[in-house]
Symmetry: C2
Subunit: 392 residues, 2 copies
């Protein structure tokens, strides 16, 4: 893998290492990332479906090009800012997978007019009518997918609400473009083991396949049948009727995914590099400059069997210390301690020593940073700096 | 108050209103902010101490100039990036209030060489020796303050560890510059009412005043005696011996501060503007585009008497709905619901309607955004766009 060139605006020199980076900062292990990508791609190839990666985790064109099957996509995005940025960088096939607000349609039209096949998502008749009205006004049929609620988790039409599904479908087919149906098995993040995940994956598949059948039975088109969550993508045994799978966090993985058994801790490609800035020896604390501003406030493992605090602490090579976590965090201070109940010992770290912290939630931790500092496994050489973006 | 000019790089036009902003975005009520600033300034004036505002909350020069007593400072920062950015914008007197890592001293020296009086903070002999070594190397005495641990909350020398305090003081006085002592009553964020806050404020004061006496008694200089937290700044009755107060979140306030009685909900100057994008009527949910990416993952009220979820929901004018909160959040979805146990009714909001969400924690929510959209109370006109920055 070619890790490409350094960001010219960065402070990085060609000799930058994990010892010389300014901390806190985000480190990406490209070998682990490649392994994660290959694993899911092979899995979906064997199931005969295509991957439409969700780029909300990475928000980086350098990462996106490694996940997507082609530079043009397909891809999934969570904001119009992502759609606009990735379009600038050549992506031509995207689903904006958050229910569309009518006033955002002007930006959708603008991108579509530039040749980007951007598809919106909705779950109400009001939104479908707004898409039809915007289509009329723009003189183009804006494609939309109907979101299905496969598990009561968040948004979407409940699968047995046939009347609403058909009404939305008819409004879109008449005045815009009905591109298909889409769902997200949000409940799969709760875990529960392989059997539960097989169940979530099957429920996710059936919800959209049956919705597609209903629409087609009424003479409506439904070319795309889209499912997606990282846990179900790694557990589905049968994707008959599904045309594509969306997944995002699989590219980096994180402690939440490890906590529900979707990956191992040493698959996690993302870490926050931090420097020791103090000790409170009587309390068993090591203080670092890796606070919640760099780790995010995400406490996603707080309700899991193993609570990882604000993150699991690794040495500078990326090997996790046994039971050493960021037990608490202030804005720019992280408090490293032994996990409660463990008889592990604190590592012997001096002021100025560095650690790497695996995050609870890759999407949230990455969002706190402006760039990925890219290394290979077991190497300290920073081979590239990949910018990332935020905003809406 | 002159709200200054629009950021030229922004999408904003002079006719921008709360109805036309792209959502989600950050809204700042300048009238509330002014009131909050005046309140603390009057209080500290009456106590005869100066305010050294902590700029980590705002990370904006437009806001900083309204909080600081002069364009040159004094001010407090939490990162060297803040120090560098504010120095570029004319601030000349700053404390970097996070324990110094030795390898960060090169950037400190660089700023000091430009005429910025940047002071570092430390609590170990190793750090003092590193500051002395860097001072020798740079041919300048780098000023440092000794952090005192007034409540076991995080960092600092325990007040009764006289030996360590004196040793650090001697190393600094001999090889660098001993500027003074500093503490932060982190425990005050737990609340407990006025009496508890008076106690926290007194403990905070005594910790540094006694440390200063110890140093002076040993013939060491200690010109600056610095305390600081928003709760104690609003409760201290006597600041004898203290030369300055640091506080940050007071400028905007937030639900955590309201939850411990430091402000009222209608003092909170910061909100996230979001748009309704769906309904799940059977569940009593309204879905908006204000997810945790715009609100942050901070759940600071989760352990308070009143759990505000991911934020308290207001109408577009900024008036809070009774018991309507963001009950759950995904990356770009917020789920609005009635607070559990309340008999309030969901407001009647249609797709496309807008709400303003008061955040748990102003520092964390603001950090998710690139700009403040500035309005007056009860006005929808966006009078300015103030950029903010992040990073280290």
């Amino acid at each position: 893998m070619d890790l490409a060139t350094f960001d010219p605006s960065s402070r990085l020199a060609a000799t930058t290492t994990l010892e010389t980076l300014e901390t806190p900062c985000l480190v990406l292990d490209a070998d682990r990332m490649d392994r994660n990508i290959t694993r899911l791609r092979n899995r979906l190839d064997s199931l005969g479906v295509s991957l439409r990666p969700h780029l909300k985790t990475a928000k980086s064109t350098d990462v996106a090009r490694r996940i997507m099957s082609a530079p043009e996509g397909p891809a999934t995005v969570s904001t119009l800012k992502e759609a606009e940025q990735f379009a600038t960088d050549g992506v031509r096939d995207m689903i904006y997978a958050v229910g569309i607000a009518p006033e955002k349609l002007a930006r959708v039209v603008e991108l579509r007019a530039k040749g980007v096949d951007l598809v919106v998502v909705l779950d109400t008749v009001e939104q479908a009518e707004a898409v039809a009205a915007a289509s009329r006004k723009a003189g183009m049929r804006i494609p939309a997918m109907i979101e299905i609620d496969c598990d009561g988790h968040r948004s979407g039409v409940v699968p047995n609400n046939h009347a609403q599904l058909l009404e939305i479908g008819k409004v879109l087919a008449a005045g815009a473009e009905l591109r298909g149906v889409l769902t997200h098995a949000g409940d799969s993040y709760r875990g529960g083991g392989d059997e539960a995940q097989h169940h979530y994956a099957q429920a996710e598949r059936l919800a959209v396949v049956e919705a597609a059948q209903l629409l087609r039975g009424a003479g409506l088109p439904c070319p795309v049948v889209s499912v997606g969550s990282t846990p179900t993508a790694h557990h589905a045994k049968d994707l008959t009727g599904v045309t594509e799978v969306r997944a995002g966090v699989f590219v980096f993985f994180d402690l939440v995914m490890a906590g529900i058994g979707i990956c191992h801790v040493d698959d996690i490609a993302l870490s926050v590099l931090a420097t020791v800035i103090g000790h409170q020896r009587e309390k068993g604390w090591i203080i670092t400059d890796g606070g919640w501003m760099s780790l995010s406030r995400d406490r996603g493992t707080g309700k899991q069997a193993v609570d990882q605090g604000y993150g699991l602490v690794c040495d500078i090579d990326g090997s996790a210390y046994q039971d050493i976590i960021v037990a608490d965090a202030n804005q720019e201070h992280g408090i490293i301690a032994v996990r409660p109940g463990s008889d592990a010992r604190l590592p012997d770290l001096a002021i100025g020593d560095r650690v790497r912290i695996l995050p609870n939630h890759a999407c949230a931790a990455a969002a706190q940073h402006e760039a990925y500092h890219v290394v290979r496994s077991r190497s300290h050489a920073v081979e590239a700096c990949w910018p990332r973006f935020g905003g809406w």
